[in-house]
């Protein structure tokens, strides 16, 4: 596999990373690779995978969204209150997703028309959205999500949890949108070269607002999963998870410099992080290593990314050099003929 296709298919590298990780842990603890455990890891990854996919879309536009944890908490608390007070689940899902989109649009408007750098804008809403959830709940957590809704978290189809299926479908949807539609290609174009994209007629502001809206919807979807899997939600829900979501996207090959990456890669990065943390239990490594492990994985991914990029640049320079030298003798001959 040459470097260029390696870079083009970074998610393949991440998926191989997951496979290698599972095989390595399996050598020590065969039970780690048991289907039931792999399904459990998939199930545990769902929340992070959704957030990572949303973050990835924003990062592709060369922005960043650090408010996803707060959006998860706020939309989840609204959803939890609605479910607890007897609002039908379908209506709740629609309202929660719409709220997520609205929160994302606020981020997008601030970044585009407000001209606030995305890190600053979403840091602001990181605090503001969490503050709002405090106002709504007065600090208390929302308990007693109806058992009927929690049953969604336990349902499965062909032995695979329903929520895992739903997230796979959602990711395929976002992936097709990004890869196969004109608007989706505009997301990459905007991240790769915003001014250039603008010049060729891409409505870059609209694209960026859309990307933040997608991130908001993903956070809201993660909140709906949270309610089904956890059955209660507190104001602390999702605190600090934005860093894990961004890490998952980067591990999955989404470049922080924009224009590169896929939501599948981001989801694979999320699987990798969850599997790595969960492997600690199997390897008998004390729990307080978890953060260190995630940090180390992220550094390795960034390092590998930088190396691959550098090697690629180097090769490009070499190619050009060679091209010039191979062309040179011909040119010299031509000159001779002319003389």
């Amino acid at each position: 596999m040459n470097l260029r296709s390696l870079l083009r298919h970074r998610e393949a590298v991440t998926v191989s990373g997951v496979v290698i990780l599972v095989l390595l842990v399996m050598l020590v603890q065969p039970a780690f690779a048991a289907p039931s455990n792999l399904l459990r890891i998939a199930n545990s990854t769902v929340i992070l995978a959704l957030l990572a996919a949303g973050s990835a879309v924003v990062i592709m536009t060369r922005n960043i969204d650090v408010s996803v944890g707060s959006m998860l908490a706020l939309t989840g608390i609204v959803g939890g209150l609605m479910l607890r007070d007897g609002v039908p689940a379908v209506l709740t899902v629609v309202v929660v997703l719409a709220l997520g989109a609205a929160l994302g649009v606020v981020n997008g408007l601030g970044v585009t028309y407000g001209h606030v750098p995305s890190i600053v804008m979403t840091l602001g809403t990181l605090g503001a959205y969490r503050g709002l959830s405090f106002l709504i709940t007065e600090g208390h957590s929302i308990e007693n999500v109806p058992a009927g809704y929690k049953a969604i978290g336990r349902a499965d189809i062909l032995g695979v949890p329903l929520l895992v299926w739903l997230v796979i479908v959602a990711l395929i949807g976002i992936g097709l949108f990004l890869g196969r539609t004109r608007l989706g290609r505009h997301v990459y174009a905007t991240g790769d070269n915003r001014d250039g994209a603008h010049l060729i007629g891409v409505r870059t502001n609209g694209v960026i607002i859309l990307a933040f809206a997608v991130s908001g919807v993903c956070a809201a979807a993660a909140a709906l999963v949270f309610l089904a899997q956890v059955g209660s939600i507190s104001n602390q829900a999702g605190q600090g998870i934005e860093m894990r979501a961004i890490a998952a996207a980067v591990i999955g090959g989404v470049a922080l410099s924009g224009g590169v990456g896929t939501v599948f890669g981001a989801a694979a990065g999320a699987v990798f992080i969850t599997a790595a943390v969960s492997s600690l239990s199997f390897l008998g490594i004390p729990g307080f290593w978890a953060d260190t492990v995630i940090g180390a994985i992220l550094l390795v991914a960034l390092f590998a990314d930088a190396r691959v990029r550098k090697a690629l640049d180097h090769r490009r320079v070499l190619d050009r050099y060679r091209a010039v030298h191979e062309a040179a003798p011909d040119a010299a001959e031509n000159r001779k003929v002319a003389q």
């Binding site: 039970a31 780690f32 600053v120 840091l123 405090f134 007065e138 208390h140 507190s234 999702g238 943390v277």
Partner: protein, 349 residues
């Protein structure tokens, strides 16, 4: 790119600091305080039923004791946030600080500075090093609470048979939970045939608590008991056992009745324990009021606190410390409660 992440991380911390003021428990600091002595009652973090209940108890007791008690915390359990709060209230001239500490020594210099300025400094729920406060209002000594954990687990798991048990609580730096777990582990090693297979942490995050427990159960198919002395770890573990339909695992720990009610009713677990945290908040305020009245307290002294009967100052050694000094010690709450299906209906916090 690493730089970008670094900047992002630094900014996140800043943002978290910046949002702190809006996050407090919603107490009023309007003019109603008047000339009453001001007391800040500080939790590890806000938004957890346990601390909210303690705060409610403390604020209510403020009225009884003629103090303006304000429940003030941050949404994030961090040393930096608590130090910031302590410094703020010290410089604003508060008369007393009552803190549930996230770290044994992280708050020390801020608290010592407060004491130097004549502020009454107490801890509740989770202590600092004893030289950094005057009195610790304790929910029970580590011996009492650690052995309570083992006793609860032993109700269903015979101590004379080999069994795998695991611990699950918030973080490796939390003073109180570490102390209980250490005592419990000591008892398990010396008095039972059980084997401790793992200790996992969930950092006050319920979804992490669910995932960690599911991983724990999968990694240890013969696990017989999980001991979860943390208000997030216990409900998270219960939800995980429900998700996995794992019947053979006994779960015990500490959390609040309102959070655990559905799991008791669904038979996911048989019993868990806590102390009356509203009463702990109120008792902390009673001690602060006694000291703010100009009284001194030393080890062995007793005093009458309205509504609590006779309270006694114990030496720091009951909590396992070496440090003893005048005007310094521990006041232990008289009782703790084990909640079961029979009595959980009597509690609402």
């Amino acid at each position: 790119m690493t730089g970008a992440i670094g900047i992002a991380a630094a900014c996140l911390m800043l943002a978290a600091c910046g949002s702190g003021d809006g996050d407090n428990g919603g107490s009023s600091d309007g003019g109603d305080g008047g000339d009453l002595p001001q007391v800040a009652f500080i939790p590890k973090l806000t938004g957890v039923g346990f601390f909210e209940a303690g705060g409610a108890g403390a604020e209510a007791a403020g009225g009884d004791f003629g103090l303006d008690v304000q429940y003030r915390g941050s949404a994030e359990a961090s040393v930096a946030k608590q130090v910031e709060l302590i410094n703020t209230y010290t410089s604003q001239g508060y008369d007393a600080l009552i803190v549930s500490s996230v770290s044994p020594d992280g708050l020390c210099s801020a608290l010592k500075k407060a004491m130097d300025q004549g502020v009454v400094v107490l801890t509740w729920d989770s202590d600092t090093n004893p030289e950094c406060r005057q009195f610790y209002i304790s929910q029970g000594t580590p011996d009492q609470l650690g052995s309570l954990l083992v006793e609860m687990a032993a109700e269903n798991v015979p101590t004379d048979e080999a069994a795998e048990v695991a611990f699950h609580y918030s973080s490796p730096t939390v003073t109180d939970q570490n102390q209980w777990a250490e005592v419990a582990k000591g008892i398990i090693e010396s008095d039972t045939e059980w084997e401790i297979v793992d200790t996992v942490f969930s950092e006050n995050q319920t979804e992490l608590a669910v995932q960690q427990t599911e991983a724990l159960v999968n990694a240890n198919p013969d696990l017989k008991a999980i001991i979860a002395p943390d208000a997030n770890a216990l409900p998270g573990s219960a939800q995980a056992l429900e998700n996995l339909s794992a019947d053979g695992i006994e779960l015990v720990g500490f959390s609040t009745p309102n959070v655990m009610r559905e799991y008791i009713e669904n038979d996911v677990l048989d019993r868990f324990a806590l102390w009356d945290v509203q009463q702990q908040g109120a008792m902390s305020v009673a001690v602060a009021a006694h000291l703010l009245d100009g009284n001194t307290l030393n080890v062995g002294d007793t005093f009458e606190a309205e509504g609590f009967g006779t309270l006694e100052v114990s030496p720091n050694s009951v909590q396992g410390y070496d440090y003893e000094a005048d005007g310094n010690g521990i006041i232990v709450m008289p009782e703790r409660t084990v909640f079961t299906a029979d009595n959980i209906g009597d509690f609402d916090f």
